[in-house]
Amino acid sequence: MAEHRDVHIHVPVLTRVEGEGALELDLVDGSIERLNLRIFEPPRLFEKFVEGYERNQVIDMVARICGICPVAYQMSAVQAFERLSGFTPDPWVRDMRRVMYCGEWLQSHALHVHLLAAPDFLGFDSAIAMAGDYPEAVRRGLELQNLGNDLIALFGGRSVHPVGVRVGGFYRAPDVSDVSGILQRLEQALPKAEALVNWTASLAFPDDEQSFISVALSDPDCYAIAEGQLISGQGLDIDICYFESHFKEVQSPHSTALHAELDGRPYLTGPLARLNLNLHQLPAPVRRVMEGCGIHFPSHNMFHSIVARAIETYFAISEAIRLLEHYQVPDQPYQEVKPVEGNAFGCTEAPRGILWHRYDVDDQGIVRYARIVPPTSQNQARIEEDLSQSLQKLGFNQSDEALRLRAEQVIRNYDPCISCATHFLKLKVRRG
């Protein structure tokens, strides 16, 4: 029974992830011969076709890279253009961008926790199927997701590819009456988000501590979202403009997503990395919820990511409340920002982790070169490393079905933005 088998697992379509991906795993003589997370989202070459467009057009274009996190793309781009011009947005603009970003964290985390990840833990194919046995949990998820969407739409008119962000601020400031309506809903949602934290913390987690490097933005004033320095758990602390000298992207034959490494090593970015590095900056009530949930942070168990997402959901709601509580319509929602020629750098915390942009802009404000490094390609090397450790720990003597389920669950911990969902591993086994 303890004999080694040759196992070949090929998952042609990963479901309940955003985008397209597949997993190939070949075990020979009890060790991994090949482990590839294939991402086959056809290349859309965004970095090339933003060339020749104006700054504000580029903000609308890069949103189209991801329907789940368009705000993140817009925020990294606008930050890059404003930094290049030496422009610091006024406190109103900064606060409201943070609120809009909270909306995106809220909708994306709620979508992931309820519709994509929770069915794994509870043994369902999809949230729609899960709704039969856990109607309240699924409803709560949909409600939080909707609230996040509405918070984005408050500033951008719609939640997917919103139209509100421009260089210098926003095109329009929301009305006081719209803000007070949403404020009321945020306050009602807070206890639900607290229940969500405890609910995720009560799930059964595999014991799977791993050593990995966390990377996140760090803001001296707050839990970083829309700006900050790049830091790691190993002492990295750099301005975002030095990203390219520390982080390298490499291409592998099995994926259209480039793999990123920090000084030659895989690293983690996203909710668990943020919480590990910045939890001391969470507001006191959020820390109390975190500390009372029964899971200890910082954590090096990737399965705790779902709890980290729930804690950030609670944080996003409380932060939006704090910033909207004394909302006033400003005299001007934006200021004109003259274009400056040079290299523009922007980096923000997308729901899935750091999203780094570089634009080379001419003196007319036309983009001449772009480089965009999304969180999923940064996490890909770490996912592959995690899979090999996690499956090894589970034991290759486990059934193919058990290996498949564990592999799916590991991948989904990272909420990879490659577009799929439930039982995505279709197993092909060849035994030697």
Binding site: V13, T15, R16, V17, E18, E20, E41, P42, P43, R44, L45, K48, F49, G52, Y53, E54, Q57, D60, M61, R64, I65, C66, G67, I68, P70, Q107, L115, P119, S126, A127, I128, A131, P135, V138, R139, L142, Q145, N146, N149, G156, R158, S159, V160, H161, V163, G164, R166, Y171, R172, V250, Q251, P253, T256, L258, P333, S419, C420, A421, H423, F424
Partner: protein, 262 residues
């Protein structure tokens, strides 16, 4: 009884996933959807049976690899009705901008080893390869559009496509014209309605993400934009944008380019 319900599939091609969110963002009604239809394939939501015959297939994304071509033909063969959702499926999407240039050169610029990736030289709309039964416009489409089209199709009615420009929505909403009153270059006069005049309501000009309206007088609008101080290439960029390869916008940008070449 389940087997008697009409079957629905949601297929993804090259896209940002934003149009599928029209369903995933439905909220509570998402849970009622299974009362109306049996969702047999919707990989992002869980169900994964791409080869099951269905009554209605919603297709997101553009065709951009040789594998996509085979897949869309299979989808067509097993679907009674095929409905494209969004700019990518309907007009090639923003990534059709790659069609204007040498895509292989771009591949070299973005990937060190482009030979590992198999792509067509163009990003094409679904209708370029198979017959489609209905197209829902928008980048992204709205939940309202998708649900109302599904309702019509399930009741055996052909949905009525939108034909009017965004200007009509501004009028209905009582919005002051951004083009006339503020001199903002607004694509509303040539762009299909359906968004609810989102950009003018947000204090900016429409940027054409729902694609061309039924009648497009692009020379008149281009002239107006130039009178507002836009250079010819800036006008061209406004047509060659999210819906760059929709025929009326494509012709408009080519006309502008022809003007500047001559």
């Amino acid at each position: 009884m389940q087997s008697e319900k009409p079957k629905l599939a949601v297929h993804k091609f090259s896209s940002c996933d934003g149009c599928q969110l029209a369903l995933l963002n439905l909220g509570e009604p998402l849970l009622q959807l299974p009362d109306l239809v049996e969702i047999v394939h919707f990989a992002e939501a869980g169900p994964n049976a791409p080869d099951t015959p269905v009554d209605i297939a919603l297709v997101e994304g553009s065709v951009s690899t040789p594998e996509d071509v085979e897949r869309i033909q299979k989808v067509r063969a097993q679907s009674k009705l095929l409905v494209t959702i969004g700019a990518c499926a309907t007009a090639g999407g923003i990534q059709a901008l790659a069609n204007f240039t040498d895509r292989q050169n771009w591949m070299h610029a973005v990937y060190p080893n482009p030979e590992w990736i198999d792509v067509l030289s163009c990003s094409e709309p679904i209708a370029r390869y198979v017959k489609i039964d209905f197209a829902i416009q928008g980048c992204p489409v709205t939940s309202k559009q998708v649900v109302s089209a599904l309702r019509d199709l399930l009741s055996g009615i052909t949905p009525r496509p939108e034909v009017q420009p965004v200007c009509m929505e501004c009028k209905r909403k009582g919005l002051v014209c951004t083009l006339v009153s503020q001199g903002t270059p607004c694509m509303g006069p040539v762009t299909l309605a359906g968004c609810g005049a989102l950009c003018p309501a947000t204090g900016r000009g429409c940027y054409g993400c729902f694609g061309p309206a039924e009648r497009v007088n692009d020379p008149a609008l281009a002239e107006r934009f130039q009178a507002l101080g836009l250079e010819r290439d800036a006008v061209e960029r406004r047509f060659r944008f999210i819906m760059n390869s929709a025929p009326a916008f494509l012709e408009a940008s080519e006309r502008l380019q022809g003007d500047s070449d001559g």
